[in-house]
């Protein structure tokens, strides 16, 4: 009869450690399979890379630049508002030849010039960061949604494998005037992107598209605004010698205010979904 071979304590300890390692490895493998087979993992694969770190940083940077511009302009615009009220209360409309009114108009013109100068100084930074964000997103959208996906896979990404689920799932920000501060909007974008890991690809695709189109529009607006500032500055410098408040001045200030600080009344109301039906568990074998 053969006896079991005896081993030294070191060998036994090594084997026990190896066995423990093997168990741990198998457990890890099983866990891996379980995770891979779980519905959550299925819903999230394949992950689309639409927000690299650079985009997140660019968004943060754009938000900071926008905040700086707002802070700089807030005081000037406040002053401009007060001066306009004073001008109206002094019944200067139609009394442009009055010396006092002319002085007031010149003061308003000077403040307006100050506003244009601040914008002129801050806009290049803004343009730079907005363009960076736009270009990074453009690359991601082209590659991930444009070249790697067919229309069907794009649709499946958007629906996120939850076609039969209630439509109350997280709806990303929709495009359009949000009625909020510019910096606040970028801050919100940044937060949405920075915390997007927990969301599905469907939200990311819509979010990336939304931000990209917004950046495209913003970039174009900044370009046009910069061109206009040069022209408006020249016009105002000429007007300074006559002490005139042009309707254009009032319009520009109004426009800047609504872009930078938002317009609370313009918040769009979104219609709610129609009342839900409960019985819809049926799945056809023909369903795709």
């Amino acid at each position: 009869m053969r006896t079991a071979p005896r081993h030294s304590p070191t060998v036994t300890a090594t084997r026990a450690a190896t066995r423990r390692l093997s168990y741990a490895f198998i457990a890890l493998l099983l866990f891996g399979f379980a995770v891979a087979l779980s519905p959550t993992a299925n819903a999230n694969t394949p992950t689309i890379k639409l927000f690299p770190t650079t985009v997140v940083e660019d968004l943060k940077q754009t938000g900071n630049v926008a905040r700086d511009m707002e802070t700089g302009l807030q005081e000037v615009i406040g002053r401009l508002d007060q001066q306009q009220v004073l001008y109206q209360e002094s019944k200067c409309d139609g009394a442009e030849n009055d010396t006092g009114c002319q002085r007031l108009a010149r003061q308003i013109g000077a403040t307006y010039l100050e506003m244009l100068t601040i914008m002129e100084e801050r806009l290049p930074d803004m343009e730079h960061t907005v363009n960076n964000t736009r270009l990074s997103l453009e690359k991601g959208l082209r590659s991930e949604l444009g070249q790697k996906m067919t229309p069907w896979t794009l649709q499946e990404t958007l629906i996120g494998g939850k076609a039969e689920q209630a439509a109350s799932t997280s709806a990303p920000t929709l495009r359009g005037r949000s009625g909020m501060r510019l910096s606040e909007r970028f801050k919100q974008y940044y937060q949405l992107v920075a915390t997007s890991g927990a969301k599905g690809d469907q939200s990311l695709a819509v979010l990336a598209s939304d931000i990209y189109l917004d950046m495209e529009e913003t970039s174009l607006l900044i370009q046009r605004t910069r061109q206009e500032i040069a022209r408006a500055t020249l016009m105002e410098q000429l007007n300074q010698s006559f002490g005139i408040i042009t309707p254009e001045m009032i319009e520009v200030v109004g426009g800047v205010k609504s872009i930078l600080f938002g317009d609370a009344e313009s918040t769009a109301l979104v219609a709610g979904p129609p009342p839900a039906s409960v019985e819809q568990a049926y799945r056809s074998p023909l369903e795709q």
Binding site: E138, L145, Q155, L158, I159, A276, S277, P285
Partner: protein, 174 residues
């Protein structure tokens, strides 16, 4: 055979054909399951060329008594049509999904979006819009699946937005 005998024989043959032509009238019952039975019997008796019209008639009848179970009735009718060889499997899927699924059959394609969808973006969106109205009929008016229809509508809006951005990015890369 002399020609004087051939002519009456041919006339008789043609007359017999004419008398066997099915009338292919639509189902008259307002009850969906009875209407499906009638449609099935007509389709099997030579009216298969009128499949589209029968399907439309059945949808109209179902609209008169909308309920979630109607989805199953239509699915079973289409599976039967496919089994009997009246429709290919792909056609059956198209008929079902166009009306009763959230996903859009107009968004099918084997090529990437930059090369295939973007050059035809307007056409794709137009077809999706038409499909959405069929989904309104199938999901909302036939099966009372409000959530499903709302999701399809939302999906349409998302596709519109995502395609606008993606196609703009594709164009910028050229």
């Amino acid at each position: 055979m002399p020609i004087k005998y051939l002519l009456p024989v041919a006339a008789l043959f043609l007359a017999s054909c004419a008398s066997n032509t099915p009338s292919c009238v639509g189902p008259q019952s307002k009850n969906l399951s009875q209407a499906i039975d009638t449609a099935q019997s007509s389709l099997m008796n030579g009216c298969h060329a009128h499949f589209d019209r029968y399907y439309d008639d059945l949808l109209t009848i179902a609209e008169g008594d909308p309920k979630p179970e109607n989805k199953r009735a239509f699915s079973e009718f289409l599976v039967w049509s496919s089994d009997k060889g009246l429709l290919s499997n792909r056609q059956a899927q198209n008929y079902y999904n166009r009306y009763f699924n959230v996903k859009f059959m107009s968004m099918k394609g084997d090529y990437n979006n930059c090369s295939h969808t973007c050059p035809n973006k307007q056409k794709v969106l137009f077809n999706m819009e038409r499909e959405l109205s069929d989904k309104e009929r199938g999901l909302l008016r036939v099966s009372l699946d409000n959530d499903g229809y709302y999701r399809a509508d939302q999906l349409f809006q998302e596709v519109e937005l995502v395609l606008e951005a993606t196609c703009s990015a594709c164009a910028a890369g050229r």
